[in-house]
Every structure is written in structure tokens, then in C-alpha cells.
Assembly symmetry: C3
Homo-oligomer: 378 residues x 3
């Protein structure tokens, strides 16, 4: 009972958080037919700022980490991040009436990491005097960024395949697809559209073979898209230069504020698409309830291997599981918004913020600590 | 004599304040034919940021206030705010050659509240050991926001009536009106223009009846306009969510800087319209001299009623009068700029910053304290 | 040897500085064909913010300085700033295959002042207990701003002459000039282009006379351009008003961050033009090696005159020389980018950041201190 009331308290507090507040505010504003609009140039710049910041913070964390010692856990973090996206794409994505791009974006967000959930996990470990490697927190970009990149690339491949499919079966399916015709991988540009067109019309091979040929250019295009470019640029600058001063004085302080405005924009847009979710809301709720625990167990398993192979501490294993259980309320949404523009933000943000994060905090953290104590006697 | 020199010192210091400095800077830049321009997307975003901040700070103040105890003073604050705008519209607005929209905007600014004048009032009360309810400062949004909303709605109604009038008397007046054809209530949009057009051409009733029919749609359109939407969105977010973190780290620190840039833009624009004021400057000076004291007395009277009815403290009555006497140098201008685009900023900002605020500070505060001591023996 | 290793350490640290890091990041992003773009409205606003800040800080420094006492050194600072640009224009600018606008921009940057080099000079003087007038640091805007203005005006005059020349010799040269047809003095506007056109076609006089006629309108147009307007507006506001609060809370904290984004944009653009530099890179390296020391000696000579005429302290003479030796890594680039849009940023920023600044720091400062001790026995 205590447990349930904890969960409900967390859930209600989340509804009052600025992030969700601005999202709902945007939805209400749009529903009331307000003429309020954020200029497009501002929207693009905000997304750029947020992605650069996410990349920079990841890069700085990696540069300051002990790479040799953390190699195996880092590889496991990358694997977990990618795995989570594939799991989501082939479970949630195959449920009736769930749109595949929405499922991929949601899985990307659950693969990405929440800094505040991670901080909560660290706090609990410290309170209970459980040792963990100081670099364990720096594992987060190794899961966060691969998950987001995987989601964007998967969505690109899916969208591209669908286009090719609708090309080959010109009648019947075309109409239902037109809604998600915006290509993934960046703000759509004429140049990109033109290329996709070329690739498709150049076909003539049987479809199976055609698909294989296409994957690498799509990955490349995703990486060249404005979203991943900004993210990877930030990552490279964080690793190779010393941007701490400008990060601390500029990108980090502006982050929460710019994010709140992006949430407003996403809310305004979500109103127009809320109908899409009515029939499938229960699937997202189910995914957001089960996902964090499942992802945590997978990472916990990987962590156990590292524990036996290289002496990764039980506390570190718990943190790896918490990182996997967490879903990104903050750094993920702007990346997915820019990288998978055709996905419905109310699907992925709603699932993560309203259900996924409370589950990870209230259920995940105590569960993994208990498990570590039972299995490794920490 | 001491009094006059205090007033002049305040007046000169105000001319050096960044707010007025950037306004004058913009006027000079434009007068020198500079090609300096602030992109339109930036202008719109700055206005949005400022209005959201004004709304948020009001909302946070209301949420943290003791609503039951402050009910009567709050109602009086709302009444005073609305009254001030109507008084200005039917006194200043009817003086010869004064443009009605300029008068309404000026009255809106004198109805709105200056945080720094309020802070000065609080400081004087504390120095003189006069008790006041801690929530009295939270009365400011109850006067500020109704005054601004009333001004924008009144301007919308007036502009709309004028359009309808010029429709019915198609020759003669049309030309003189074309200058203020920009509709109030938000950045003009094709959609809004189209609607106004429809409403007007649908006429055929006698004008009196026609006017009554129109008022509610205009109020609704004003509230849906980008200016009031942002303001009310901020208010709602401030009351219903907990945006303190993002307010303190983002909206509040950026406020003064963004305001200075808005002042620059308004100054650049004012140069083109400074001629309009030459013939009527004396009326604005008179209004700005008398207005603050008159508004303060009205609020003082309301405060006395609350004093006898519910025991509202004499110090609280003084603060209510100071709130009414103050005119908004900071939060009001962006709202009016966006909400009444056809009004001349040099009219209302000049009146408020150069005359109204020094009068409220140097004359108003000591006057209301003396009055309270005489009438209520505080 | 110790000396060379100091120099190399500084050189490598500079490559990791955020300023250069973002520049190189932008170059790499563009080289990889990324679709990343910063909206034009944002670019213009960032440039405006940076120039206003540079002007404001100069103005505030001048207002707080003791103008009577610093008159002669200030006049010498102005003279040195202008001289440096002319020297660069007629040495570097006449070297084979070096583009004249690139040389003028580079000379402008070497005439402008680096705050961090100045700070390093002050620190060394304080460490060695050498006295200098407290207002000596406030000499920097007297050299910085005249140098930038001179560079922009010289570039305008040069571009204008070239146009007129190509008008008179319509065949042969026209093609090679089309690349640098963007007029200096501000973001090109139709109105300006139109005027230049008019001025040119109105010709018919012999060219020599024609040139004289043109210079004043070009100076005026440069000053009215968006770049110098913003710079001089900031200067005037800094001197005449009290913008310290908004400077400290807004313009100054945002400066480094906005600069890093401008660097990114300039890097993205530089990629397309890097080829231009291949054949002339050695001339820029030579200029950047010799320039700082030569400029320092000129200012040192002027300082000696002030020392004998008005008792300017030896420490002050050293600081004047350090100001002249420094080249602007931070405040100069945005001004030149906006004021001389046809110049290649990789030429001037590369020269200044990668060679000029390390030379001034590692060679200049100890040299001038030693010289002062020998010549004036400080």
C-alpha cells in the first residue's frame, strides 16, 4: 500500500514538473485555437542548442572517464541501448494499430537515459553505503547516444521501405501512408527527398535485394541529418576539445529553459494528433510499465557477466541496470523530435514521463539493489 | 525645494536606466538611417519570452498567496486595474488630437504595475516599521493583468468599431484611418483580418445593435491573440504547475536583457512616429502627472473599505495604493506592443517611464503613508 | 628550448580552446556534407548581440576611465590601431596571390585587442611588482574600435574601387571579381547595392577624381551598416547610460556561448573557401609571426613619447605595447564577419588564434617588459 501511494505521489509530482506542464500547456493553447506561434527559425535553433548540449555533456563525461577500466561495461551499455530499441520496435511496434514510427521513437526514448533517475540511483546507493566505481555514472552516454542513433536509423529504414513498398503497390496503401511521409533523419529537405526518390525509382531488382542495397545510404543520411549531426558534433567537441567553460556558462544553464519552450511547441503539435493515440493508449501504458523493468534486467544480466569477468562492483551493476531502466524525459525528446519528425510526440513523451520514469524510480531502483544483495552479496 | 530636487534626480537617473537608454538608442539609430535590423523571428520570440515571464511571475505569486484572506483586496485590485483603463480611455482619449488607441495603451500601462515601485514602497514601509500583510505584494498580478487585458480588449473594440464606421461612411474618413488599420489583439494574421472583414460585411443592422453583437467575438479574439495567449499561458503554468526552477534559471535572468532589445526595436520604430506626438505631448505629460495620484487615491479608498470590512492593515492599504499609482516600465510595454500594435510606443513608454514612475515614487509613496497615518493611525 | 616548448604548449592549448574548437568543428561538419544549418535570423541576431556587447564593454571602460589623464596615451592608442591596419593592408595585402580584402580583415584583427592577452600582461606586471596606471587597461577600446572601423572602411573603399574599375574595363577582370562582389560594411541589402550601383554609373570623370568623390559616402555607408551601427550603438550606450546591470546579467554571460555558435557558422563557411588559402598560407604565417612584435614596438615608441611628455609610467608603456601586440580572438571576428562579409574567416581567425596570440603571449610580454626595464629603468 505504501508502495502504491509512493508511486501515485511521484506520478502527481511529475504532472506538475515544468517539462510536462509546458507540454500540457501547449496542448491546451492549441485546443483553444490560440494564434500563439513560435517562429520556425527559433524552433530549429532551440533543437540545435539542445542536441549540441546533450552531445557535449556526453563527450565531456567520456573524456573524463577511465576508458580502459570501463571498456567491458561500456560495450554492454552500448549493446543494451541498441537491444532496447530493437525489442521495442518488434514488440510495441507490432501491436495492433500502433504506428511503427511511434513505437520506434518510444523505444528510443526508453533506451535513452534520464539523468535525474540516474542521480536518484546514485543517491540511494550512497545512502545505503554500497560501493560503486566513480566512472559508473559516465556509462550513460554509451547507452543514451547509441539508443537514439539506432532509433533514428531504424525509423529511416522503415520509412524508406514503406515508400518503396507503396511505389510497388501503387494502389490501396498509398493513402494511409501519406500521413507519415515525412522522412526520418533530420528536418526534411528537398535535397534529401530528391535522393530518396532517386533511390526508389532506380529499383527494378526484387524488393528483398533492393532493401539490402539501401541500408548504408540511409544510415549515412541519418548521420548527416541535422539532428544527429548536432548530437555527434557536440560529442566530438566534448571529447576532443575543452568546452567546459562555454558548456557551464551557456549550454547547460539555457538547457532547461529552451527545453520548456520545445515542450510547448511539441504540445501545440500534439493536440492535432491526440486522436491517433486514443485507440492504442493501453499498449503504450503496458509497454511503459513493463519496459523499464525488462530493460533493467537485461542490463543487470550484462553487468553480472562484467562482475565475474573483470570485477565490476555490485553497485556498478545496479547503476548499469538503473541506466537501462530509466527513460529520457529531457535529452531524448528534442533528438527524437528532430530525428524522427513523423513520430507522434505525445506517444513517446507521455509514455516515458507519465509512466516509465515513476516505474523506474519507485520499482526499479529498490528491485535492482535487492537483487544485487541477493546475487552478489554486496 | 528638497522635494523638487529629489524629483529631478530621480528623473535624470531614469533617463540613464537601461530601459530608457535602449529606447532612445533605437530612436537615434533609426534617425541616423542605420541599416541595423532585428530579424522578425527574433522580435516575435522576444515578445513571447517576456509575456510568458510576466504571466509566470504573476501565477507563481498568486499560487503562493493566501487566497481566502486576500479575497476582498484582490477583488478591489482587479476593479482598480479595470477602472484605471476606462478612466484613461475617456479622459486622455477624448483630449483634442490624442489618438484613442495611444490613450488606451497609455492607460493600460498606468493600470499595470511596476515591480520596482512596489519594492520601493515595501522598503519605505519596512524602514518606518509599518505593518502590512505579507501577501499584500501578491496583489500586483490582480491589478496588472486585468488592466492589460482590459486595454487590449478596449483597443480591439475601438479599432473594430472604427473599421465598421469607415465601411458605412466610405468616403472622407477612410484615409485618416488607414494608418491605424493594424488590428489590436495580437500580431495581425490573415485569418484574423479575414474574420474581421466577414463580421463587418455581414452588417446591415443599425450600427448600435451591430456593436453589441460584436463585443464577445472581439474579446475572444483578443484572448486568442498571441499576446494574451502567452500572458495567460504563463499565468496558468505559474498557478497550476511548479515552474520555479525554469523560471529562476531561464525566464527571469533573461528578462531584462531581452527587454532592452525590445526597447531598441520599439525605439527604432518610434522615430518614424515621433511627429504624431508633437502636438499632443502636453496632454500625455498632464495625464502622467495627475494619473498616478488619482489612481492611488481610488485604490486607497477601496483599501479603506477593506480595512473597515475585514481588518486589512493600514500598511496593506498603502501598498494597494502604491500598486495602483505605479505604472509598468518593464512588464507592460511588451504586452501592449504585441497586443495593441497600432499604438505608438513613444506615447505610453515616454509617459510612464519619464513622468509617471518618478511621480509615483517621489510623490505617491510619502503621500499615501501620511494619509494612512492620519486616517487610520497606523 | 624552454621558450619553444612554452610556445608549443600554448599553441596546442589554443587548438583545444572552445573558440577554435567550434571553428574546426564547423569545418568538419561542412566537409562531411551534413545538413546542419543555423537559421539566418539566428545568425544575424547572434552577430548583433556580440557587437553590441563589444561596444558596451568598451563604452563602460571609457566612462569609468580618467579621461584627462589618459588623453595622450588614448590618442596614441587610436593612432596605433589605425596604423596597424594600414601597414597590414600595404604589406600583407600586396603579397602575391593574397586577396586584398582578406589582408585588410586580418590587419583589422591584429589591430583589434585580445582581452585575455591584456589580462595576461596585467598579471605579469603585477607579479613582478611593476607599477602601471589603473586606467591603462581602459586604453583597449581606443585601439580596438578604431582598428575595426578602419578595416571595414578600407575594405569598403577597396571593394567599391574594384567595382568601378571593373565597370571601366568591362572585359577580362570582371569574372575574377564576381567572387568578392558582396559589398563590405554590413549585411548586403538591396538598398545599398542600388546606391553603389548609382554612384558607379554616375561616373564619367577620370578615375582618380572619381575616387576622391566617393570616399565620404563609403565611410558614411560603412558607419550606417548593421555591423558598425551595432558596435557604435553599444559604445554610445556604454558611455552615456548605465547599462552595467543588463550588461552583467545578459550580454556578458551570453557572449562566449553565442561566439561559439558564430565560430561554428564561420567554420562551416570556411570549408568551402579553404582552397583559397593553400597557396598563400605561408604569407599569413609570416605576417602573424612578425606583426605582433612590430605592432608592439610601434606602440612602445608612442608610449615612450608619452612617458617623457606626461610621465606615463613604464608599466603603462608595456601595457600599451601588449595591447598593440595582441590580436583579437574574440571580439574581432564577429565584427569583421559582418563588416567585411567578402573576407575569408579562415584567413584572419587562423592567423590570429593559431599564431598571433601565442606569439604575443610568449614572445611579446617578456620582450616589452625587458625593454622597459632597460630603457626606462622601471
Amino acid at each position: 500500500m505504501d508502495f502504491l501511494s509512493d508511486f501515485l505521489t511521484l506520478f502527481l509530482a511529475k504532472l506538475q514538473s515544468p517539462t510536462l506542464g509546458f507540454l500540457i500547456g501547449g496542448m491546451v493553447v492549441a485546443a483553444l485555437n490560440s494564434q500563439l506561434q513560435i517562429p520556425d527559425a527559433i524552433y530549429k535553433f532551440i533543437v540545435f542548442m539542445l542536441l549540441l548540449k546533450v552531445g557535449l555533456s556526453g563527450g565531456i563525461a567520456i573524456r573524463n572517464a577511465n576508458l580502459a577500466e570501463m571498456l567491458l561495461p561500456a560495450v554492454f551499455a552500448v549493446a543494451t541501448g541498441i537491444l532496447i530499441v530493437f525489442i521495442g520496435r518488434y514488440t510495441l511496434g507490432n501491436l495492433p494499430k500502433v504506428k511503427t514510427v511511434d513505437a520506434i521513437a518510444t523505444a528510443g526514448l526508453f533506451g535513452a537515459v534520464s539523468g535525474s533517475t540516474l542521480a536518484a540511483g546514485i543517491t540511494v546507493l550512497e545512502t545505503e553505503d554500497i560501493f560503486f566505481e566513480p566512472w559508473a555514472a559516465a556509462l550513460y552516454p554509451f547507452m543514451d547516444i547509441p539508443a537514439l542513433v539506432t532509433a533514428i536509423v531504424l525509423a529511416s529504414i522503415y520509412t524508406s521501405k514503406q515508400k518503396s513498398l507503396s511505389q510497388q503497390e501503387p494502389f490501396g496503401k498509398q493513402e494511409s501512408l501519406s500521413k507519415q511521409s515525412v522522412a526520418a533523419g533530420g528536418y526534411p529537405t528537398t535535397r534529401q527527398e530528391y535522393r530518396s526518390q532517386q533511390r526508389i525509382t532506380a529499383g527494378g531488382y526484387p524488393r528483398k535485394q533492393n532493401d539490402r542495397v539501401k541500408i548504408w545510404p540511409i544510415v549515412k543520411e541519418s548521420l548527416q541529418g541535422s539532428a544527429l549531426s548536432a548530437l555527434l558534433l557536440g560529442l566530438a567537441l566534448g571529447i576532443l576539445t575543452r568546452p567546459e567553460s562555454v558548456y557551464e556558462s551557456f549550454f547547460n544553464p539555457l538547457f532547461r529553459g529552451l527545453l520548456s519552450i520545445l515542450m510547448l511547441i511539441m504540445g501545440m503539435e500534439a493536440t492535432a494528433r491526440i486522436g491517433e493515440l486514443r485507440k492504442v493508449g493501453q499498449w503504450y501504458a503496458l509497454y511503459a510499465l513493463v519496459g523499464p523493468l525488462l530493460h533493467g534486467f537485461i542490463a543487470f544480466g550484462f553487468g553480472m557477466i562484467a562482475h565475474h569477468a573483470t570485477g565490476f562492483s555490485p553497485g556498478g551493476v545496479v547503476l548499469l541496470a538503473v541506466i537501462a531502466a530509466s527513460s529520457s524525459d529531457i535529452s531524448g525528446p528534442p533528438t527524437l523530435r528532430a530525428g524522427i519528425p513523423s513520430a507522434n510526440p505525445s506517444a513517446y513523451i507521455g509514455s516515458s514521463t507519465a509512466v516509465g520514469t515513476p516505474v523506474a524510480l519507485a520499482l526499479g531502483i529498490p528491485l535492482f539493489i535487492g537483487l544485487a544483495q541477493v546475487l552478489m552479496g554486496s
